[in-house]
């Protein structure tokens, strides 16, 4: 048996239901008793299974659970394509002022001027950052921003009487959300490959672009961690056949203040405010997927959009925007996230935005150089890294039998969150590494040294990696069992 498995690990926490005792409750939170006036035939007969715990028990339980997580506040998170940068606390504090928290989305505009002014200015600033002509803040995550973007492309073609364009082109390296979005919008997905240097295969693109092309979805820098150098050519090919260019803003952090999607010729873009503009990921959201468009797509933006007039700020709705693709949420997207992004941009200012792109790129290129020195193979050694880069363990996998998953899991033992693994799918055994601009040189050095040590471990005894992690609350989990013997809700022991 491996000695490492004897390492002490954090204790598991029972479920909240295990802590429950019939008749116990947190009385301080309950309003006074009132009679139930629900008609008898509609009244609930059996109480729902909710925990019966004291306030302290609940607080302690969820605090303990939180300590079983990695997070940006506790760990380095070099998670490619996710931009896990510092989420400044000031943004949270000032977005959570009681007046903002208590603000009803349908309150009269005269009660909303402070909120709306912040959203309006955010729209304006995002236009400038991206080089687009108009912005709508309502999409609630990147994938919803993509949906809005592709729906606008569809609406644009239909508005001018062109109903035959039923294909969206995506690159082979695209995020899974791109083809999923195109399908959701009723399009056929056409994939184009990348060439050996990571750029889009132009000849292949020429073959598939045509009268059925509604548009192309691109990330630039691409998910391969390189800047798409043929962007001008792609633009002329796609525009040449009457299609539009969609920019997936997942990697906007790399080029903030350096080059703007609007200047590259994109017609519509989405931004991930929870990546580029430092709003927290919250363990899986909320995000925000604001969309920006060129002039000709502005009438189709999703509503509500904030407008400014002599009387003040107000939301535009169906009556103001008859060609809009409509609503994506019941109210105003993830409004509180938008305030956080607004505060972030105001705090770093115009010079700070440019520094984000610069230092994210500096950190990625530095870490790539360090890892190359340590003997790691990168996917595109002849290229500059952007804000991220790919290490491929193809050789290690062949020679030592070690996989990207093994290395990722072993990193957890040393307190580093794993890089993104097995994405993009076309690079074998890949680690997609994005350090972000908010990490110090010392952190990057520590990470490089650790990764090198793990590679050495693999050379000595690969089984040590196979069974990692050792120091976390649980060892490697049985995913197959999770999917085969579905246990999706808690049940009392029989």
């Amino acid at each position: 048996m491996n000695t490492l498995s004897a390492v002490s690990r954090p204790e598991l926490e029972p479920t909240i239901f295990d802590l429950s005792a019939s008749g116990r409750r947190a009385t301080a939170q309950a309003p006074a008793l009132a009679n139930c006036t629900v008609p008898a035939n509609l009244r609930r007969r059996v109480r729902p299974r909710l925990p019966e715990v004291s306030e302290l028990q609940a607080l302690r339980h969820y605090t303990r659970l939180s300590r079983l997580n990695f997070s940006i506040d506790t760990n380095f998170y070099p998670l490619g394509s996710c931009t896990m940068k510092y989420n400044p606390r000031g943004c949270n504090q000032y977005a959570m002022l009681p007046e903002f928290l208590g603000h009803h989305p349908y309150a009269h505009a005269s009660l909303s001027q402070g909120f709306l002014e912040s959203l309006f200015e955010l729209q304006e600033m995002l236009c400038d950052v991206t080089g687009m002509k108009a912005v709508s803040l309502t999409p609630m995550a990147g994938a919803q921003g993509e949906f809005a973007g592709v729906a606008m492309i569809r609406a644009f073609h239909r508005q001018r009487g062109d109903f035959h364009r039923d294909e969206i082109i995506v690159t082979q390296a695209a995020h899974g959300t791109n083809p999923a979005t195109a399908s959701m919008c009723g399009f056929k997905v056409v994939e184009v490959p990348c060439d050996a240097t990571g750029d889009c295969d132009i000849e292949a693109l020429k073959r598939v672009a045509g009268p059925r092309t509604a548009g192309i979805m691109l990330t630039n820098p691409s998910t391969l961690g390189v800047f798409e150098r043929h962007i001008a050519e792609i633009r002329s090919i796609v525009h040449g056949v009457g299609g539009l260019l969609y920019y997936d803003g997942a990697n906007l952090n790399a080029i903030l203040g350096i080059v703007r999607p609007g200047d590259m010729g994109f017609d519509v873009i989405h931004m991930n405010l929870h990546k580029t503009f430092a709003t927290p990921h919250g363990g899986g959201g909320p995000g925000s997927g604001a969309v920006g468009v060129a002039e000709r797509l502005a009438p189709f933006l999703p509503i509500p959009v904030v407008a400014k007039s002599a009387e003040g700020y107000r939301f535009l709705d169906e009556r103001d925007c008859p060609l809009s693709i409509g609503r994506l949420s019941g109210f105003m997207g993830n409004a509180g996230v938008l305030l956080r992004a607004y505060i972030y941009i105001r705090m770093i200012g115009r010079e700070g935005l440019r520094r984000v792109g610069e230092f994210a790129t500096l950190n990625a290129n530095y870490l790539m150089a360090r890892l190359q020195q340590a003997g790691f193979q990168v996917a595109f050694p002849a290229r500059r890294a952007t804000h991220e880069f790919i290490v491929t363990l193809k050789a290690e996998s062949r020679d030592l039998g070690v996989t990207a998953t093994d290395v990722a899991k072993r990193l957890l033992d040393f307190g580093y969150h794993a890089p993104t693994t097995y994405f993009p799918l076309l690079v074998p055994e890949c680690l997609l590494i994005e350090p972000t601009e908010t990490e110090s040189r010392e952190t990057l050095d520590g990470f490089a040294v650790t990764l090198e040590a793990i590679l050495n471990e693999a050379r000595e005894d690969v089984s040590r990696l196979k069974e990692a992690p050792y120091t976390l609350p649980v060892r490697r989990l049985d995913d197959v069992r999770a999917a085969k013997q579905l246990e999706l809700v808690w049940r009392p022991d029989p």
Binding site: E13, Q29, P31, R44, R47, P48, E55, L59, Y62, T63, L68, N69, S71, D73, P88, Q93, G102, H103, P105, Y106, H108, L111, G114, S118, D128, G131, M140, A141, G142, A143, T177, T181, S183, G186, R229, V259, D263, P280, H281, G282, G284, G285, P286, G330, F331, A335, G352, R355, T361, N365, R384, K409, H417, T438, P473, V474, L477, E487, L488, V489
Partner: protein
């Protein structure tokens, strides 16, 4: 440099290890012609203190408003402990729990949440959240098409008494996949979905019907009859529910003989502040037979290689990062933090606390109605039994009343004239457990006062 830790010496030595002389050299693959000019419309940086002052001033301008609007977003008391825990860095700044071993806190929280929501709605399984109630309805309609795939066409009955923004959002998202929606009118006396319109709808080739309980007007629908009719005609039932109401109302799993098939709703009432419209979260629950058609993330319990229990994302083959163009939805990042808030909220208030919140809210709305009944020109045109919201008919255009109430620091209701012109001058108003006797008196006095002055001015 705000939030960037590099010293001048760091930059120098990092560049030398990379083998370039300046940061600008790192961008030599970006075509020169594309390089951005100065960002003119972005103001220079402010300190945290300076932007803090600006935001505090703006917040003060919006003020502390006395709120009587519901219409899908409800003001409830949130125990202080909820957001004290949720804003801990380990929750607030964690990523989606793909690395299960490093995310057991989030994963177990989702597992507990799934258990609570499944039980609250009377269903078997829940996902880990969708964006909000409105977009959750769109996802439920798309899911019903996948789950009821014996049909060649996709038709869904969507009553007019369902939240108007939910209907707009759902139709906008679903029409791209060629789903058609048929509107069903409501009965103008009771406010319930019209049984005669519903039961005379073309039933052949029907995919699903949507039932909101209580409906947008706060009125209880006859859920048993509607559910049984749908099932007799081979349609699935999509329930749209307010989670607070489920403390006292029969859950969708108990509707009719067989129960609803897919349940969705807006999770905001469970510990999430109003916050200008978001972030909220949508919830979705269903029966085990449909679990593979569900969109979004799902957590399952499993074991590690030593046999210790643990939690992991499961059934990922439904999702976009695996299935790409053939996924059940494009949804990726959703509303994890709000799901955590709801889980903690439900743990603290428990079933009895939630019942008290529901009953107190109903009582407060009744109190509001009783006192408003004495105000000349005001009446309540819909007579169906209701939860904590009511349609109120007023003698002046609602916009003018609401504007004057706003001047008095009161958010006075939701103007129904655009969505329901057939109701005439009507508002939707709501009082939850947060409203005191004095608050209600203040509202009634303000309404009386404004109506008097508007009518005097009009006379």
């Amino acid at each position: 440099m705000p939030f960037i830790p590099h010293t001048v010496e760091d930059v120098r030595s990092m560049l030398s290890i990379i083998g370039v002389s300046s940061i600008d050299d790192l961008f030599d693959e970006v075509p020169k012609a594309l390089r951005a000019s100065f960002l003119d419309n972005i103001p220079p940086a402010l300190s945290e203190m300076e932007i803090g002052r600006i935001m505090s001033d703006r917040a003060a301008r919006d003020g502390h408003v006395l709120n009587f609007i519901g219409a899908g977003a409800y003001e409830h008391h949130i125990p202080a402990a909820v957001w004290a825990i949720v804003t801990r860095g380990e929750i607030y700044t964690a990523y989606t729990p793909y690395q299960a071993e490093a995310s057991q806190g989030t994963l177990q929280t989702i597992f507990e949440y799934q258990t609570m929501l499944a039980s609250l709605t009377g269903m078997e399984v829940a996902n880990a959240s969708l964006y909000d109630g409105a977009s959750a309805l769109a996802e439920a309609c798309l899911m019903s098409v996948r789950a009821n795939k014996k049909l060649h066409q996709s038709r869904i009955l969507l009553p007019k008494a369902v939240h108007p923004q939910y209907r707009r959002c759902t139709q906008g998202i679903c029409e791209l996949q060629k789903i058609t929606f048929e509107t069903i009118d409501f009965d103008p006396l009771s406010g319930r979905t019209s049984w005669s319109a519903f039961s005379s709808a073309e039933s052949a080739g029907l995919t699903a019907v949507v039932i909101q309980q209580p409906n947008f007007f706060g009125i209880y629908e006859d859920v048993d009859a509607l559910t049984d009719w749908a099932h007799q005609h081979g349609a699935l039932v999509i329930a749209v529910v307010n989670p607070t109401s489920l403390a006292v109302l029969r859950p969708p799993g108990d509707w009719g003989a067989k129960g609803a098939d897919i349940v969705i709703g807006e999770g905001q009432p469970l510990g999430v502040p109003l916050s200008g419209g978001g972030p909220y979260f949508g919830f979705m629950t269903t029966r085990m037979e449909h679990v593979r058609q569900m969109p979004g993330r799902i957590v399952g319990k499993t074991v590690d290689l030593e046999g210790r229990p643990g939690y992991a994302l499961t059934l990922q083959a439904r999702e976009q990062h695996i299935r790409r163009g053939k996924a059940t939805s494009n949804i990726c990042t959703n509303q994890g933090l709000l799901m955590s808030a709801a889980t903690i909220y439900l743990s603290i208030v428990g079933a009895e606390g939630l019942e008290r919140v529901a009953n107190a809210s109903m009582a407060k709305t009744q109190m509001l109605m009783d006192r408003l009944s004495a105000v000349p020109g005001i009446h309540f045109p819909l007579d169906g039994a209701r939860f904590h919201e009511v349609v109120m008919s007023v003698p002046v255009p609602p916009e003018r009343l609401l504007e004057q109430l706003a001047n008095r620091g009161i958010a006075g209701g939701y103007d129904l004239t655009h969505d329901y012109p057939e109701l005439g001058y009507c508002l939707l108003v709501c009082a939850t457990e947060t409203k005191t006797d004095l608050d209600i008196n203040r509202y009634v006095a303000a309404v009386t006062d404004v109506l008097n002055s508007l009518q005097a001015a009009g006379a």
